[in-house]
């Protein structure tokens, strides 16, 4: 058991280091399926400025999980296999920090009308929320907000950018 814990810690540290090393400019589209490069949450609080990341903070969450972001197909809001893996990982983190509350931001690409996209973003945020709830995360710890097409992470008008913008981002509320 002690050995297992040790391994887990090492794995977590590895992911955290990998996450730092792999930071890329926002403009570069990620290879398909590489969710680890999906955009940063716009609204998440950053960790302390002295470089020490407080466990259970949004910064710690982002470093600890595979990704804070799940992606969706055109006009879709289903949680696919890739998204399940990411959300399983998020659920495990949230289980480790039961005091942590989150909000899930739903987003859409620019190729939809404004109001419909607000509704679509709500669908996506709730799809992620429902999945986490099914994994045992208390719904009372989770809120959702839709930004529609107001807060893209990729600014191009091309398929790669749109794919990155169709997303649900989990943000830890500090």
């Amino acid at each position: 058991m002690a050995k297992l814990n040790h391994l887990l810690l090492a794995a977590t540290a590895l992911v955290a280091v990998a996450g730092c090393a792999k930071k890329r400019p926002e403009q570069l589209p990620p290879p398909p399926g590489d969710a680890a490069t999906a955009g940063e949450a716009q609204t998440g609080q950053t960790g302390p400025t002295d470089g020490v990341v407080r466990p259970g903070s949004n910064e710690d969450f982002k470093r600890s999980v595979q990704s804070n972001t799940v992606l969706f197909g055109v006009d879709l809001y289903d949680i696919d296999a890739t998204a399940r893996g990411i959300l399983d990982d998020q659920a495990a983190y949230l289980a480790r920090f039961p005091q942590v509350r989150i909000t899930i931001e739903g987003h859409a690409d620019e190729r939809g009308t404004r109001e419909y996209n607000l509704a679509l973003g709500d669908r996506r945020a709730n799809a992620a929320k429902n999945y986490l709830a099914a994994k045992g995360i208390d719904a009372g710890r989770m809120t959702t907000i839709s930004y529609g097409k107001e807060r893209p992470v990729a600014l191009g008008s091309d398929e790669e950018s749109w794919a990155q913008n169709r997303r649900a981002v989990t943000v830890v509320l500090n």
Binding site: Q42, T113, L118, P152, L155
Partner: protein, 450 residues
């Protein structure tokens, strides 16, 4: 409330003119002077709009009366030119008009310019601080007066007198309702697209008198005028809780409409101002609701699984057109104002979104998503579809008060792509950008001002 502008019956103005004009000569044989608003390729009507002389040169808070007279004529010309139906003569072909000849034009001169219609007017500073603007429309060939109106305005509202004059000319020559004396509320945009700063802004229909209403700290979207034009309903992310607010134009105060149990958006006033129609997203499902404009308990109008949003009342308030993806993609539906009798009216390829009922009741404007986004209109009962614009992403139509023109916003591609406000007329042939200080989106055209 005292009206800010009122019409004056011009019995024999300019008042200083010593005699009534001679009885008009009998109209010439031939076609009456009129402009077709539906005609396809007819050339714009040449019209002369010389500077409006002042009764006396007086300094006013709006400038000297003689400068005002030139600016008033320019505004009238600009309005009429922008309609696409008129071609104002260039300044070099105009002649100065003496105050005494405002209602007795030099028809022989104007006949030689090629102008078919002539607008003359005058400015007078009144003892009580107001301005009187007289406005006369003549048929140059028939040598007859077609219309005359006078307007009394405060100096701060002097431009409205010109818009009222242009409205009088437009209405008399087209047979259509006026629309130049109106305002547009919209969302001013600036900054990078990933972190766009959005502010409510209001301006006259021609872009003048531009004013920001909110400071940009919260995202604001989709403003709409109240029918009495004293407030604006819109959606804001204030406090990171997307909700509907009413902004009082006079006081600048904002009021939350629905307590935040869920995300509320897409607000619209009913034509009588008593209700606010809106959309509520909850647990991934979006439906239409209405709430008393002064606050109260919301009433649910739709309950389909799916996204029902983008509602718009018919001008008589009895029906609502909205979009729903209940059949798969977004399509347009019409229902009674209480939510009963929901029927689909759009059946073309692609998707239909953002329906807006014409103030005339006959047409519904929409955004059609079929590859590109385009603005179109269809009959209120469905059918008769006509696409008016052709660009990469045109979205969010809003009708002019007379139902003859539509404003919308046009987005460009990529991170540097701009968003601009545009206007298109019902023929689809007259299209132009509305100048704004920054980028703009979500325009909503207000009613004709009283």
């Amino acid at each position: 409330m005292k009206p800010l502008i009122y019409c004056l019956a011009l019995l024999a103005a300019p008042a200083l003119a010593q005699q009534q004009p001679a009885p008009a000569a009998p109209p010439q044989q031939g076609q009456p002077l009129e402009v077709s608003v539906t005609g396809g390729v007819s050339a714009p009507m040449p019209i002369a709009i010389p500077a409006m002389p002042a009764a006396a040169v007086v300094d006013t808070p709006a400038g000297s009366t003689d400068a005002l007279g030139r600016q008033l004529a320019d505004i009238v010309a600009n309005d009429l030119r922008n309609s696409g139906l008129f071609s104002p003569l260039s300044p070099g072909r105009l002649r100065p008009v003496a105050f005494g000849e405002v209602n007795t034009p030099q028809f022989d001169y104007w006949g030689g310019t090629g102008a078919q219609a002539l607008v003359q007017g005058f400015v007078r500073a009144n003892a009580d601080g107001t301005l009187t603007v007289g406005c006369y429309l003549f048929d140059v060939f028939a040598k007859t007066e077609l219309a005359r109106q006078g307007f009394v305005v405060s100096p701060a509202e002097w431009r409205r007198a010109a818009h009222k004059c242009a409205d009088a000319v437009y209405s008399r020559l087209t047979g259509e309702g006026p629309y130049f004396d109106s305002r547009i509320v919209y969302v001013s945009e600036t900054g990078p697209k990933a972190k766009r700063v959005k502010r409510l802004a209001i301006m006259d229909q021609d872009g003048a008198n531009h004013r920001f209403l909110t400071n940009g700290q919260s995202i604001v979207l989709t403003p709409r005028f109240a029918p009495n034009q004293q407030s604006i309903v819109y959606m804001s992310y204030l406090g990171k809780i997307p909700s509907i607010y009413v902004y009082d134009i006079g006081s600048g105060r904002q009021r939350l409409v629905v307590q935040n149990v869920a995300t509320t958006f897409a607000p619209r006033f009913s034509p009588d101002g008593r209700w606010i129609l809106f959309s509520q997203a909850q647990a991934g499902n979006t439906d239409l609701y209405r709430v008393p404009a002064g606050g109260g308990a919301p009433q649910r109008l739709t309950s389909s699984p799916g996204i029902d949003t983008g509602g718009s009342y018919s001008p008589d308030g009895s029906r609502i057109v909205f979009e729903s993806d209940r059949s798969g993609g977004q399509q347009l539906y019409v229902m009674n104002a209480d939510g009963s009798n929901q029927q689909r009216i759009s059946f073309g390829g692609g998707r239909y979104a953002t329906p807006v009922w014409s103030p005339r009741g006959d047409l519904i404007a929409f955004t059609r998503l079929s590859g590109d986004f385009r603005i179109g209109v269809m009959n209120a009962s469905g059918g008769g579809e006509k696409i008016l614009t052709n660009s990469w992403q045109d979205e969010g139509p809003s009708w002019s008060p007379n139902g003859r023109a539509i404003t919308f916003f046009r987005s460009g591609r990529g991170g540097a792509g701009k968003a601009d406000l545009w206007m298109v007329d019902l023929t689809g042939q007259v299209e132009r950008r509305i100048p704004t200080p920054l980028d703009g989106s979500d325009p909503a055209w207000g009613p004709l001002r009283p």
